[in-house]
Each structure stands twice: as structure tokens, then as C-alpha cells.
């Protein structure tokens, strides 16, 4: 590999040029639909908030998300698909706000997915009503999937001696489905990540205690959020 410095570097660069050829020009950003600049601006604040969530999940950011979805819900109250997507975003946002770092990883994924599709539905001038409905159905399916994961996570492990497992009377985390499933049947997008299992749960008693604990925390955080909201409304 020994060679003179200049000629060797030239050889490397030539080889790289040959290997990567004339394909190394950047692709133009691809968008399947043409965005509407005015509508894009309406969603600008929401986009900034969602991008912030990528970095940090703080109470302040989550409250901004909830406030912004509330503002947009008023603007889009006559557009059922957009309104439903906003409600989904609001529900997932409230759940993440309550659980923060312990929120299911799929909830963050879902938040981004809803936001991306919301943008698509709002800004596109060529998207059809049926396409919008299909997008909404897919997001609802993902939302239901997440709810199922939460319920599965909350269920106590089966007893070894085949006795029926004691289940807590209250579900540990409540996520209200904001919209009804539309008639159009769209296959649910599979969410790959699996809810982490808690190795410290030894039996139904522990599971119930953990569920109660989680519920207490959730209620506390919900109250805190409500107080914040009331405070903001009074201002």
C-alpha cells in the first residue's frame, strides 16, 4: 500500500469517483402531493412542538402540544378526518404527558405517525376523501393496537398453580378512543416494538399493587395537567 502521498490520494479519489459514479447527486425531496403554503403555516407551530418532543418530553412541551391541538380542533371543527386525527394526537399526547419517559415507545412512534399524516391530509391539495379516510382508519388501528399493548402490559402474569389470576378492578391507564372506527376496512399497521415486561412482578398481588401505584401516579399527573390547563385558561 506504500505509495507517494499525492498520487495515492488521487488514486483513492479516483476510485471513489468510479465507485459512486454519477449517482452521487442528491435526490430532489420527494412529495407525493403538492403542499398548500397557507395550510402549512397553520400547522407550523404543531410541527415545531412535535420536533421538540423528539428531543425532550417535558410537561411544558406536552402542554403546548395539547393547547395547540385544541386550537387546531377549533379551526378544523368542520373537517371530520382532520378533527379525528387531532383528537388522536391529543389523546396520545395526554398519555405521553402522563407517563413521560415510561410511556410505551410505540406511543411516540404513533404520535409522529399521526402528525405526519395530519400534515399530509391538511396540506395536500390532491388527496381524495377516500384516501383521507383510509389514512384515518390506519391511524385508528394503530391507536387501538397501542391501547391493547397497554392493557396487556397491565394484566398480571398467570398463576403457576392454574388459579385464575386476580385482576385489578380499574384499568391502569385509560386512553379514550376519540373517534369511531370508520366503515372502510384498512389493515392495521403492525407496530413492531413490544411492551417491556417487568421482571420484578412476582404474582398477582404485586401486579395489582403496581397497577394501583400506576393509577395513583396517573391521577396525580392528570390533576396536575388539569390545574395547569385551568391556570392557562384563567390567564
Amino acid at each position: 500500500m506504500a505509495d507517494k502521498k499525492g498520487t495515492f490520494t488521487d488514486e483513492v479519489n479516483n476510485r471513489l469517483g468510479e465507485f459512486f459514479g454519477d449517482m452521487d447527486k442528491p435526490d430532489a425531496p420527494t412529495r407525493d402531493t403538492k403542499p398548500s403554503p397557507k395550510k402549512d403555516l397553520e400547522l407550523f407551530d404543531l410541527k415545531a412542538i412535535v420536533l421538540s418532543i423528539e428531543w425532550e418530553i417535558s410537561h411544558e412541551i406536552m402542554m403546548r402540544l395539547i393547547a395547540e391541538t385544541g386550537r387546531l380542533m377549533k379551526i378544523y371543527r368542520d373537517n371530520k378526518v382532520v378533527l379525528s386525527l387531532l383528537k388522536l394526537l391529543d389523546s396520545v399526547g395526554r398519555y405521553i404527558n402522563a407517563k413521560k419517559a415510561t410511556a410505551l415507545p410505540d406511543s411516540i412512534k404513533l404520535l409522529h405517525s399521526i402528525h405526519t399524516n395530519l400534515q399530509r391530509v391538511v396540506t395536500s391539495e390532491t388527496i381524495t376523501e377516500s384516501q383521507s379516510s383510509q389514512i384515518l382508519s390506519a391511524e385508528i388501528a394503530k391507536f387501538k393496537n397501542l391501547k391493547q399493548q397497554l392493557l396487556t402490559k397491565a394484566e398480571p402474569p398467570p398463576l403457576k398453580d392454574n388459579k385464575p389470576a386476580a385482576t385489578p378492578k380499574t384499568a391502569p391507564i385509560k386512553m379514550a378512543a376519540p373517534v369511531e372506527q370508520p366503515q372502510t376496512s384498512v389493515p392495521a399497521t403492525e407496530v413492531s416494538a413490544v411492551a417491556p415486561t417487568d421482571a420484578t412482578i412476582n404474582g398477582p398481588k404485586d401486579a395489582v399493587l403496581q397497577a394501583i401505584d400506576e393509577l395513583k401516579k396517573l391521577i396525580k399527573e392528570e390533576f396536575k395537567s388539569l390545574r395547569e390547563e385551568l391556570k392557562q385558561l384563567r390567564q
Binding site: 500500500m1 471513489l16 452521487d24 442528491p26 428531543w55 411516540i108 416494538a193
Partner: protein, 205 residues
């Protein structure tokens, strides 16, 4: 140090994409893989699980062919950017020959870029490598967000913050659209392979 097999005339070179979490390291490799997959014999290996974030690392082998009579096999890695995966980052840096530092141009990531660069310096030092001496290319990623009116740091400011002392080659890029992704990699490979050749020449001669 690269693995050199004099019998088969083969050199394995390790290039690591480093930078803060959510900076676009994986997107860089994904772009390269998608663009050149027809020229690659192996696949991009990505370990993404927790909330779509890189938990362990991404790995992309790239056989670029004969240079100086040797068959050069590049191994491109990324590290998980999140602060808590310090041990994994250190592990991936073992035996590194060159680094691409992928900085996030978003204004609110300014501090994280600095912390990540310092982290790189410290982790390299654990392997007796000097950030000022290792082949390094800096990429200012996410420039496309300017179109979306997301506040970005000007490249001049980024240069001043991150590259004033290092004086490494740098590129304003967008891993999402592919702008300067290949240029960044080509520069990093060129610097790394040339640096290896120089080291070998010194040892041999």
C-alpha cells in the same frame, strides 16, 4: 487500527458516524444504502427497537475495490447518540480509523452538538486516539429544515462552535434529501485511507 491482510491484499477500514441523538447518523447510512444497494453485496444492519431509536449500532460494509494494490473494505458504523448509551458508543469506537461527526443544525440542539463532540474526544482518548489527529469530517445535517422555517444555526456559527480548533473538512448536508451525504462519506473515506497509507509508509520505511 485497520485490519490488514497482506496475504489476501485486503484492508478493513472502520469509519464511525458519531453525533448527538436524532442527528441523522442512521439516515446518512440509510441514504447511502438505498442509493448504492445494487453495488453492495451485504445489507445494512440496523438495530432499532426502543421508539425507533438506534439502541446498539448500524453497520454497513462497503467494498470499494482496489486502491494501491489492496482491496479496501469499508465498514461504516453509527453509534447510538443518546447520552445514556455511553458504553455502547465507546465499544463501537474501538479500532476506529476515521470519524464522521454528524451535527444537528437545529438551533435548539446547539448544546447537544458540543456535548457530543466532547464525548467523542473523551471516548477516543480512552483508546489513545486524538480527535485532532484522527481523520475527521464534520457534517452539518438537517439543512433542509430551513425550508420548513425551523430555526437553524448558520453554518458559519456551527463552524465557529464545533470546528474552530479542529479545522476538519465540513459539509452542510441533508441526510433526508441526500444533499452532501455521499460527499461527506467520500471525503471521510479518502482522508481515512490516505491516513492509513501514510501510517503504513512510515512503519515500512
Amino acid at each position: 487500527m485497520a485490519l490488514i491482510n497482506p496475504k489476501t491484499k485486503e484492508v478493513q477500514v472502520k469509519l464511525v458516524y458519531y453525533g448527538p441523538g436524532r442527528g441523522g447518523k442512521t439516515t446518512n447510512l440509510e441514504y447511502i444504502y438505498n442509493k448504492y444497494q445494487d453495488r453492495m453485496t451485504t445489507k445494512l444492519t440496523t438495530v432499532k427497537t426502543y421508539g425507533d431509536r438506534t439502541l446498539f449500532f448500524d453497520f454497513l460494509p462497503l467494498d470499494i475495490g482496489m486502491i494501491g494494490g489492496y482491496n479496501i473494505k469499508m465498514q461504516l458504523y453509527t453509534v447510538p447518540g443518546q447520552v445514556k448509551y455511553q458504553a455502547t458508543r465507546r465499544l463501537v469506537l474501538r479500532g476506529v480509523d476515521g470519524v464522521v461527526f454528524v451535527a444537528d443544525s437545529m438551533a435548539l440542539r446547539e448544546k447537544m452538538n458540543v456535548l457530543s463532540l466532547k464525548d467523542l474526544q473523551e471516548n477516543l482518548a480512552t483508546f489513545d486516539k486524538n480527535i485532532f489527529k484522527i481523520p475527521l469530517v464534520i457534517q452539518y445535517n438537517k439543512r433542509d429544515l430551513a425550508k420548513e422555517k425551523i430555526p437553524l444555526l448558520p453554518t458559519e456559527k456551527l463552524e465557529n462552535i464545533l470546528n474552530k480548533q479542529l479545522k476538519a473538512p465540513s459539509f452542510a448536508a441533508s441526510a433526508l434529501t441526500g444533499e452532501n451525504v455521499v460527499e461527506t462519506m467520500k471525503k471521510a473515506i479518502s482522508l481515512t485511507v490516505s491516513s492509513l497509507q501514510q501510517k503504513l509508509a512510515i512503519k515500512q520505511g
